[in-house]
Amino acid sequence: MNPPSQFEVVKPGLETTVQELPGRLGHWEQGIPPSGPVDFWSFRLANLLVGNPRDTAALECQVMGPTLRLHCSVLIAITGAEMSPTLDGQPIPMWTTVIARAGQTLALRGSRVGMRSYIAFSGGIATTPVLGSRAVFHMAGIGGRALQPGQTLPLGVPGGDQRGLYHVDEAHRPPLGSDESRSVACVRGPNDDWLSDESLTDFVSSDWKVQAQSNRTGMRLSGPVFSFAHRATHKRPEHGQDPSNILDHGYPLGAINLAGQTPIILINDAPSTGGFINPFTVPSAEFWKLGQVRPHEILRFHEVSLDEAQQRRRDLDSAVTQEALTPQ
């Protein structure tokens, strides 16, 4: 009899979760966020390396990776943040297809460069979808929780059309830890008209330090003080007392959400709505940077037009295909 297609969690790592693309769509109006991998560029490359469709369910590891025991032989690939992976204690390369056999132990350590790693398995993770997706919103327990010691996760059946071993060379990966990775494009709006002209300029000309309290809902930044436009200080009382308050409205993923004087970049598990303004929004092609920035690092923002943001999205989308892989 074949061994069960699954792996067992020996050590869970820090809030390691199953993620899938496009995430949980269709329930945002009930307060359920899309979730999904934050750095979807690295995530997709991991899937391609093991021969999966690029949006297949895989693990997202944060800061400290997990230790897993494989109950079956599979192809695995680890991308994203450098977490010094080993298989039965022997170092294995990242950004590369690796053959793992039943009984072997895969261990990841703390991230040295970047913040989030992705582990893909041939066949993908086959947990039961909740509301149409395997993506996990672990803080609310939707689609499951973060990995627990002793838990087993089922794997799917590999497609069988690809058994090759591949590698992604540096030119085809997100440049983690580079200056580029800390220079983040943003688009003005939806609530840029609530800030003073001075603050709009300050935002793109200042250093922003990422605070330690950052998770899959968002990351807090510290930097210069904001000043507000007339609209923010002369408004109907329903909007709330603080200049950064606005009547409850929807929150885009990537929004620079200003709560009082603290900007928070909202990412995949963020609140769907709330009563603070969003003067800028980070477009989707920049999300790999948001997924990989570490606490205490300095971010700089630069403004791009809507057209440019959408062009970058197309460019990234067409760059993350089988073509990005080199046969070994």
């Binding site: 919103f137 929150y251 609140p271 709505t273």
Partner: protein
Amino acid sequence: MIHQHPRFYVGGDRYIEVELGDGMSFELNILVHNLVAAIRQAAIPGIIELIPELASMQISYDPEVISYADVVREVGALHDGASRTDAAELPSRMFYIPVMYFDPWTEACIEDYRSRQPDKQPDAQLVCQANGLPGRDALRRLHAGTDYWVAALGFWPGLCSLMPLDDRARIVAPKYNPPRTWTPRGAVGLGGALTCIYPDRTPGGYQLLGRTPVPTFDREQRLPAFHDDIVLFRPGDRVRFIPIDQAEFEFLESEVEAGRYEHHCVEHQTFSVGRYREARRRLEAGQPAGGSA
């Protein structure tokens, strides 16, 4: 204030905020829901999700399928068409939610907060004072004496913003400052002119008036009401609170725990915007409500 034309704001490469007015009123919110219904019905390719809110909505779209300019054009045209008519019949289920007002669990939460913020007036007392009510009984009668409109959901899965449909039951309250670090699951709160039901144990800022034993969010999908969903309400539903005592609370809680509780929901109802407006006009003119309104 309702804008003559909706205002569109860019939210990155795949989201648009559509603002239909400035302020909080049922009239404005119903325009949002009418427009959401019209967009859904039009089934515009490339529009992925809609989040209706109090005076605005967020649209997510796939820019590879539809451009920003085309979303603006199509949604603008739908707004100019159907969204202001009285003829709209919106699907709107009616939920009866049992609530123990001034229950011991929210009282304990309030006292926990007050042990660190001694200047904070107890919630019910503060709300009575702010609204000229003689006491808790009057507050309970007023709060449970109207249907509520689920104007929006958000911030946390299943957290609802409820507007009283009867203007005579409008109660207002300031929010906690600083916010609470925890709130009992099922607590019923009031902030600004909105009521909410906390779906889970979360931080919060609304004044607490009571607690329901029945879940509005069930990640395990155990009870029949959560068969197809994990959140009880959809925007545009209605809610009526039914006051209960502690014995009834405990009975219902045990029914929920045993997996036997069936939510009291009238599935077949719709909400007539025109008839609601008519009933409201009569009320404003001091005329008695007629027949079935």
